[in-house]
Structures are given as structure tokens and as C-alpha cells.
């Protein structure tokens, strides 16, 4: 099961992902990020504090947007990953391509710093 909630704080768009992201539920994540990009959001944070498990399909979603973020000059930060989920990102090498931080504050700071 997956639950995605979106909130906007000033010009920061936060997508909170809860539960398991598998092959079936990854399409919702894909849509949420895609929507944010098409609406021209420049600062997108992904809240992974409640993310239990992510399959290769879910990782594929993040991977597929890396180029788009670079092209549109958007900032994209993940935060609150559990140790296990972080390990999955790390093994794949996705941590070298995405900005991953520990806490929400850190993430907010990261996007405001770089303005």
C-alpha cells in the first residue's frame, strides 16, 4: 500500500510517501513527481520518513527524473530515509546522483541555501 500526500510551503513542494513503493504503486509516485515538474515547481522535497520499502520499480521512478531535474534547473531533495531504504539507494549508486539528507530541516536549508 502507498499513500502520497502533497504540501506546499512557500515555494517548496513537499511530497510525502508512506508505505511500500512496489511495481504497482510506483505509478502514483511517478505521477506525483511528474505533476510537480509540469507545474514548474523548482524546489521539490520527498519526505521518506514513512517509506517502508522501495522496489527497483520505485528506484526507477527517481532515476528517470534525474535528467529532467537537471534540464529544468530544479532542486530535488530526499529526506528522512530509513537505514534500510538508504542502503538500497546506496547499493544502486543512486545516492551519488540524488541529494539525500537526514532531516526535513536540513532539506529545507539545502534548497534555501542554494537560491
Amino acid at each position: 500500500m502507498i499513500n502520497i500526500t502533497k504540501e506546499s510551503e512557500e515555494n517548496v513542494h513537499i511530497i510525502k510517501v508512506e508505505g511500500d513503493v512496489d511495481a504497482a504503486s510506483s505509478i502514483y509516485l511517478d505521477k506525483a513527481i511528474g505533476d510537480a515538474l509540469t507545474r514548474g515547481q523548482k524546489k521539490i522535497l520527498i519526505d521518506c520518513t514513512e517509506l517502508e520499502y522501495i522496489s527497483s520499480a520505485g528506484l526507477g521512478v527517481f532515476m528517470s527524473y534525474i535528467q529532467d531535474f537537471e534540464n529544468s534547473d530544479s532542486q530535488f531533495v530526499l529526506f528522512g530515509l530509513s537505514e534500510r531504504v538508504a542502503g538500497v539507494f546506496e547499493i544502486l549508486g543512486l545516492d551519488q546522483l540524488l541529494t539525500i539528507v537526514k532531516t526535513r530541516e536540513e532539506a529545507l536549508m539545502r534548497v534555501s541555501d542554494e537560491v
Partner: protein, 694 residues
Amino acid sequence: MNNFLKPVTSSLPDIRSLGSHLNWIVLLLINFVIIISFRNDIITPEVRVWAPHLSISLVLIALVFYSRLQIKAVDRPSFLPLLIRLCSLTGLGILAILFLESLVYLFSSHIRLFSNPLVATAIYTLEILAGGVVLSTLLVGFKRLMLFEKTRLLVVSWRLFEYGLVTTTILSLFNIQFNTFFYNLIFIALTGLGVLLSVNLKWVGYLDFRQKLQALGLMLVQLLCLLFFTWFLYFYSSDTQLLYYAEDNMLLLVLLSFSLFCTGLSVLVIFFNLPTSSVFEKKLEDLNGIKQLQQSLRKKQSEEDLYQLLLENALKATDAQYGWIWVKHHQGGEKIVQSVELPRLSVNALLSNFTNTRVKDGLMAGRIPGRRRAFHLSPVQHPLYKSALVIPLRAQDSLSGYLTLLKNVPSGFNKDAIGIARLYAEQTCLSIENLQLLDEAIRLERYQEELSIARRVKESLLPREICCNTDCGLFVCSESADDVGGDYYDAYRLDSSRVALVVADVSGHGTSAAFTMSQLKGVFHSLVPQGLGCRDFLVQANSALSRGLGRTTFVTLVYGVLDCTSKTFTFVRAGHCPVLHYNREKNRVEAYHGKGMGLGLLRNSAYQEHIEEQTICYGEGDALLLYTDGIIECRNGAGEEYGQERLTASFEKYAGQKGSSAEVVCTLLMEELHAYAGTKELQDDFTTLVLKFS
């Protein structure tokens, strides 16, 4: 008359009917012979009395048999044609009598021959026979009509009646005269039985209003004809010229009385059934409606057509003036189905006239709370429509819409109307449910078929045999989940001392994973023979795959080269699970993480900055384990993952066992994994490749 009796359907002369033709013609001749013999004194007076009756009876019986061959059993649609046939035959018979009578009337004063009793009797006999033909045909015709719905009692009583009729022929031998005690007794008994039989007029109910009117006319004509024949018999009973009187023939009289009763009763029954025929027609229409709905399922009509059919039938069955169906589609979205024959009115405007606010609000919102099966609303505040019927439609236990019907009288829907409308609604829902289930089954079937193709493709991509150096044993265990994953392994001999190995995992499942795997196999076999270093291999593979992989697809793998001269395993890890090395000397397992990135993650030249080549030097008794993430992500009943730690510990335990081969280590690991997962089926592909050095 013979021509008339011939069946229209068969033009071939039927031998049996030919036989019966002969039969009654011969009997007719005998009849005449007997009449002529009255003149002579060959025949004794006793014989004179019974012989004509016997022969007439025999002729009548022969006629009955003949009619039975001519008139076949009937069913509902052929009632009216049969009635027309019977009536016209009766008319023809009476016309024949009238014709003969007019001949006698015209010529009796001029030609002396007609005043001869013998000639008069002959003409009388001909007339009686014409009547006999009519009566015997009517007997068979009514029998067919009454027996179209057979019951045992009815069949038995008919047989009894027929035996009785035959018996009267024998009675005529005993010279029983008309209006004597015995004659009356037998006559009343047989006529009574005939009356009892003639009450069975169920066929009348199956005629519709038009047909009933026609049948009434036909029966009235027939009744008049029969009454005329009765009067004719009565008239001649006082003629002293005649040598015998037909009313002494009991068979003829019984047939006449039976025909009279049947026709008279039919007239009455048809007449009194006229006002109720619309009820019966309505019920038939209702039944036809259900039949139509059921057939439409077999024809595999669309949902839209089914709703349209339901609406038309419900409008007809309840006599409602207006109606519509509000449909909620299971994919989302809603639609209003209105009859094509009625003007399209605004449903919301009509709804606003409902006085029952709960139902009104429910219909507007598309959700009436509760599980009631029908709502009869009266009154409705509308200039035209005074009452409404709302029936929820439920398919697969969830609401799929509402049928709403409007009528121009208050409390316009009685219990029957509600019942039939509900029946239609349920039938339609059932049809729609079946339609949906069928669609689902087809989709599932197609998916299964795709999966089985993908599985076959995948199996054909994995190598049958795998080569290795002489200083080590190699064993692979690979198991697939039902839903095809994308684990791949292969080996390639570079030269006498070097072997290239790969263990890979393609992201995603199903058919797409199988296709990605085939790309990977192509890339592996085209790059490896070029003798590239591990790092270059990965860069080239990334570049090749990046052009072919889907947007969200990537591949993780470990590619390495085993060299038995330098006793090294040089490898790169492309985002794959770390390689585990069991060191015999230290009796410890070491995991080689190193820097690495999945293929397809970074689809440009920057990729090479994210990978690192590593080398493991192995000694005797050492072991290596290459595996896919299905192993560490395997969950037990409690949802807990097997994990890296458990795998490391188990590998250390099994690889450290003295003399254990690669096969033993690999098998033990898989067994442990299955024990951990329990009875649950595999969620992912499992692949373990074990190398054991000697």
C-alpha cells in the same frame, strides 16, 4: 372436399391416407348397395333396420381415422389456422346439403324420379354423409385443440370417449331405436362425457385479442351451421318417404351434440375472455422481455445496449410514461441512459419535483443510503407525472446505477409492476455482471499467456551449461517467482586461464523484464569477446543499454574475470549487491561494496566516474558468493527481510564446512532461504552463484 382435406404441406400421396380414402369410398358404396337392396327382398327386414346405421357408423369411424391423419397436432401459433379450416369445412358441408336440397326442391315437381323413396333416401344419405364428414373432422379438430396441453386424465378420458363412440356402432346391431330407454341412457352417458371434455378450452387463453375476435366470428358461423344441421335432422325425422332415419344412428347424434357443445362453449368462453386477454398478453410480453434480456447476454451486447433494453422493457412492463437510468461506470464517471423513443428531458428538473427529499438528494448525489430494493414515490409534484418508481441496480455487490420510472397517475405502480421491474433490473445486473466477469477473465487469460511467453523467453536466455576454470567449482541456483523477474547469469571463457562471469538483475517484472534481459545478453556476448577490462566493459555496456532501456528501467550487475594463473577475481559492481568473499585462512566473510552504479542510471559519459574496479586474491578453500537482491529482500511470514547479515553468517557457516563443494554451499543456502520464507511463494527471483576454490 377431398382436395380440401389434403394436407397442404405434403404433395406426395401418402399410402396410409390413400388407404383410408379407399376405405370410406368402399363403405359408401356398400351403403348404397344396402339402400338399393331395400328394393329387393334379398335382405330380411331385421337386416334392413340395422344395416344402414352400421354402414353409416363405419363410414363415420373411417372418416374420423382419415381426419386424424389429415389434422396433425397443433401448437400455439397454429390455433387460428385450424379454426379457420374447421369453420370453412363446416360451411362447405352445409352448402353441400343446401345444394342437394335445392336440387330436390327444384326438380321434385318435374321429375318423378325424385318422389321415389329410394332416390329420396339416397339423397338423404348423401346429405347425412356430408354432415358426417363435418362432424368427424370437428371431433378430431377439437381433440387436437384440447390436447395441446396434455394431462394424463384428459388423455384417458379422450380414449374412453373414443372407445364409447366405437361401441355405439356395435349397439346399432341390437336395433335400438331413437328415444327408447337404452338409447337415451347410452346417449346421455356419452354426451355427458363429451360435455366434460369440451370444458377443456385452455387454448382460448393463448389467443390474443385480435385472434379472439376472429375466432369468435368463426365459431359463431360454425354454431349456426351445426344448428342448421340439427334442424335438418329434425325436419326429416317426420318424412315418411325415407327408408331409415339418421337420428337412430347414435354415433352421429353423439358427434353432433359434442360438436354443438364444444362450439357453443367456445363461443361463450371466447366472448367472456375478450376483456381479460390484455392481461394475458401483458404477461406474455413480460416473459418475452426477460427472454430478450437473457438472449442479449448471449449475443454479448455492450453495457450501454443492456441498459437501453432494460429501460425499454421496464417502461413497457409498468406502463410508465417516462424513465431513465443513471449509470455509474466502474472505471469512474457517470452517464444517463434515456429512451430513444421518448423526448430527452432534463433529469435534474424532473428530480426537483420529488417530494421524498431523502430519495431526491440520494438520486442527485448518486447514492441512496440503505439497501432497499425499490422506492415507490407518490405523490410527485409535477404537472404531468404523479408517481415515481426508483430501483437501485447492483452488480458485483456494488451499486452501478438507478432505474427511475415516472407515471401520470398517483400511486401508479402496483405490486406486480414493481415486481416485474425489479426482475428486469436484476436480470440486467446479472447480465452486466457476467459481461464484466468475462472481460476480466479474458484479460487475466491474456496476461497469463504473456507471462508464460516471457518465462519461456527468459529460460531460453539463461545458459544450459556454465564454464569455469579448473581450480574452482562453480554452481548456480536460480529460481523464478510466478511473476517473471529479471535475474540473469552467464559465463564466457576468454582464454585458457581466464573466464568472464556475470550475475545481473533487471529492474521490473513480467514481459518487459524478459525483453531487457535479452538486450543484456546481447550486450554481454558482443562486448566480452573484445577482451575489454572490467571497467571498460561496464562503460561500454552502460552506453549500449542506455540507448535501449525504458525510461524507468535499469540493470544492476556484477561483472568479473577469474584468472587462475594470478589467482585473482577482478570485478566491477554496477549497483549490484556486494560480492561476498569467504577467506579460509581468516575463516571470515568479507563484503566488497566499493563504488558502483546501476547501468542506465546515468546515461552519459559521466557514468565512468561512479564505478570502481576491485580485485580479490583467493587462496585454496576460499569461496565467493554472487547473488541478486531477491535473496536479501526475501521476507518471512512476519514481513521481516532475510537481510545481508543473515546471508553473510550463513555463507560463512556453509563455506567453512570442511570439504563442502560449491554445489553443497549453494544448495544449503537456498534450502535455508526457503525455510525462512516458509510456505509463502517466492516474491522475486532468487539467484546465487557460488565459486569454491581448490
